[in-house]
């Protein structure tokens, strides 16, 4: 126990500390010291028996901010939101058994969107592993398919290097979640902290630089293109390549469409922006994708929500695909020029070797599409239209907020109608589509970027999956704005039932059980407002923006039967999108 304090001193001693001088600590102390050494400033966690040694270390630690979330699922989403907002890895701590299993949805969510997380779970003492001990779960086995790598640390002497390796793996190459399982007796055993930074994994060497001849081929194709299009995905954000992408598009006047995960990777106010493509993409983005002759996929993976029917996906184009993960290339769609590498390295190289393509006719066509079918915002004064709601939020925040969504109709409207000009400003569960993600991820984003306004746009369904985190938000005085698009139903499910299941609304109407969200907020000590017209909504938003010491819940009553368009029905090609309700 006396070693518990030792680690807070000599924080500046970087590099190699001689074996003899290095302090003797218990495993828990070594872990915390290693985290400090790796510049971890925030942990989202929840205590329990197996991690008590760790929590004891945290008791008088002033360097790491441990945020007590109210459920480990929310903890892993919060860490994910922190990571997406900052670019740094999110850190989670949970106890053995149920603590670990509760993190699983958050880990899977992060895995699908390549988000760097490091999850620490407690484990029963080593000699009890396999005995069905109290609160034992094989969390390494459970999370194997949803982690980039995971570890069970049996020996306290391996702890520090394993933790360093975990952070290195989570953040390099194609990022992803990593889990480290910590038996309680290992956390109590004595060992030494070395402070040695070096991590070397001979079997792990992600490619960074793209192949030169491939880059030249790509530049040649692009120079000769008549109808080029850039299709940018989450890799642009993860690879911090937004400036390089903007340069390429602006220098050669090439239109850019982004995926849901790529929103903010290219400023939407620029003339080259076509907004989002795919199932709920813009008319012009989907038409351009179908008609283009050279398609440059940048950090994107040809997900089925983007491509629609593969047979009809961009049928006339030569395809260039830049991605750091070779397994993404050629997985769904055959490409002509595959380039494995870091987008941040590859894009400037392509830019340098590309000559100005002649895109005037192409722009005429695109601008005609834009005029014919812009995204529509129905106007109504005595009701709130969901599209209006997103525009009002975009206006009042000047497009500068971090917008965090849940999953459903509101997610798609938020993607369409908020103007994203900045990277790391749209956080959403794209790959797994996890309801309940939005609110805790928004909390995490706030802890990562306390000076930026954070708005959570959520549904009345999804909010209820993790609404208990209001407790955390109130405890830490987080001035988060939570805008519930309350349509009294599971909107996206209801829309599909209306369109494809003869309006048989099976188990998708929430009207009767929904809480009074204003009272719910107030019972936690948060501010609560309700609005049912456009005017009221704008007043509520204005007032909410002035509150800076607690979360604000805004219950926006929107038109229940509004459907989200454009929409590519599943199985159809992108250019077969439906633009509105049948008369």
């Amino acid at each position: 126990m006396e070693s518990a304090k030792a680690h807070t001193s000599n924080k500046n001693k970087e590099k190699s500390v001689q074996e003899k001088e290095s302090p003797v600590l218990n495993g828990a102390g070594i872990l915390i010291k290693t985290l400090e050494n790796l510049d971890v400033d925030t942990i989202f966690g929840y205590p329990g028996g197996a991690v008590l040694p760790l929590y004891d270390e945290l008791f008088d630690n002033n360097d790491i901010n441990h945020v007590l979330i109210r459920h480990e699922q929310a903890g892993s989403h919060a860490a994910d939101g922190y990571a997406r907002a900052t670019g740094k890895p999110g850190v989670v701590m949970a106890t053995s058994g149920p603590g670990g299993t509760n993190t699983v949805t958050g880990i899977a969510t992060a895995a699908m969107d390549s988000i760097p997380l490091v999850v620490f779970t407690g484990q029963v003492p080593k000699e009890m592993i396999g005995n069905d001990a109290f609160q034992e779960a094989d969390i390494v086995g459970i999370t194997r398919p949803i982690t980039k790598n995971n570890y069970l640390v049996k020996d306290v002497d391996e702890l520090e290097q394993t933790v360093r390796e975990a952070f290195h793996v989570a953040t390099s190459g194609r990022p992803g979640p990593v889990l480290v399982d910590l038996p309680k007796d290992m956390l109590q055993a004595k060992g030494r902290f070395s402070g040695l930074h070096k991590v070397s994994i001979p079997s792990y060497n992600p490619t960074k630089k793209g192949h030169f001849t491939q880059i030249q081929k790509a530049a040649e194709l692009l120079s000769e293109a008549e109808k080029p299009l850039i299709y940018a995905g989450g890799g642009v954000i993860l690879g911090e390549a937004w400036e390089e992408l903007t340069a390429l598009a602006e220098n050669h006047n090439i239109p850019v469409t982004t995926t849901l995960m790529g929103l903010g990777g290219f400023p939407e106010s620029k003339p080259q922006s076509l907004g989002m493509l795919g199932m709920h993409g813009t008319y012009y983005a989907n038409m351009a994708t179908t008609e283009c002759d050279v398609l440059v996929a940048v950090g994107a993976r040809f997900d089925d929500r983007v491509t629609g029917d593969l047979e009809g996906f961009s049928p006339h184009s030569k395809k260039i695909h830049i991605d750091i993960d070779p397994t993404n290339i050629g997985k769904n769609v055959e490409v002509d020029v595959p380039i494995v590498g870091d987008v941040k390295h590859v894009l400037p190289e392509i830019d340098k070797h590309t000559e100005q393509p002649d895109t005037n006719d192409w722009w005429d066509t695109i601008n005609k599409w834009k005029e014919e079918h812009p995204l529509e915002v129905p106007e109504e004064d005595h009701k709130i239209k969901p599209q209006q709601m997103m525009e009002s939020i975009s206006d009042i925040t000047n497009g500068k907020a971090i917008v965090v969504t849940d999953v459903g109709q509101h997610q798609m409207w938020a993607a369409q109608h908020y103007t994203y000009d900045y990277p790391r400003s749209f956080l959403s569960s794209g790959g797994l589509g996890t309801m309940g993600y939005g609110f805790p991820a928004a909390l995490g984003a706030h802890f990562g970027c306390p000076d930026r306004p954070v708005v959570c746009i959520t549904g009345d369904g999804g909010f209820q999956m993790t609404a208990y985190e209001l407790a955390t938000a109130v405890e830490y005085e987080v001035p988060l704005k939570i805008a519930i698009m309350n349509n009294e139903c599971l909107g996206m499910v209801r829309q599909w039932q209306e369109l494809f299941y003869d309006e048989r609304y099976s188990h998708s109407i929430l009207k009767k059980g929904n809480p009074d969200f204003v009272k719910l907020a107030e019972s936690y000590g948060a501010a609560g407002f309700r609005a049912s017209s456009k005017n009221e909504m704008e007043q509520v938003l204005a007032e909410a923006m002035t509150i800076d010491d607690r979360p604000v819940v805004m219950d926006f009553r929107v038109d229940e039967y509004e459907n989200c368009y454009p929409m590519v029905p599943s199985g159809a090609a992108l250019n077969e999108m439906v633009l509105g309700d049948k008369e």
């Binding site: 398919p145 079997s203 047979e311 049928p315 993960d325 070779p326 769904n332």
Partner: protein, 174 residues
């Protein structure tokens, strides 16, 4: 223009992959996990414990078209503890499999079985009044052929190791 991972399988060919991996059971589970979660096939798999060297060599035979094999190779590479993946199929390599076959061998059939065993350079390793146990080593085809030859006598039990393989280092010139 498009072909998907699960698309129509044309040009299915057999491939022998040799994978060197840092020895730990988590890494081995990850390797198997790739096959089950991505819907790839395993025809045989064998691995030797590498506790001493810290490395294990795993030989996997699988089949599929070019695209699937490429995905398998890439996915295996992606596992952090996998050191090398080589597809030996297009290289010159040696492969061996061992099988232990227990055959019914009444007195009348015994000499014939022993002759077959000789021809295949297999070895009798156990004998009882009614049975013979035979060890056969060779490539998959040879082992298959041997089993085919003794099957009519009645196979009581059969254990096969799966293929192990190594790249040839010297190809020489004639």
């Amino acid at each position: 223009m498009s072909s998907t991972q699960n698309g129509t399988a044309t040009n299915q060919t057999k491939h022998t992959l040799s994978v060197v991996v840092k020895y730990n059971l988590n890494a081995l589970s990850r390797i198997i996990g790739i096959f089950s979660s991505k819907g790839f096939e395993i025809d045989s798999i064998s691995f030797g414990s590498g506790k001493e060297t810290g490395l294990a060599r795993i030989t996997i035979t699988t089949h599929g078209d070019e695209q699937i094999i490429e995905q398998i190779t890439k996915q295996l590479h992606k596992i952090i503890d996998v050191v090398t993946v080589s597809d030996l199929t297009h290289q010159s390599f040696v492969e061996r499999e061992m099988a232990l076959v227990k055959v019914k061998a009444q007195r009348s059939a015994r000499s014939e079985i022993m002759q077959i065993t000789d021809i295949f350079r297999a070895k009798i390793i156990d004998i009882s009044p009614d049975n013979l146990a035979i060890e056969i080593t060779g490539n998959r085809d040879k082992v298959n052929a041997f089993i085919g030859m003794v099957r009519p006598f009645g196979i009581i039990e059969l254990a096969r190791t799966g293929t192990v393989a190594l790249k040839r280092e010297f190809e020489g010139s004639v």
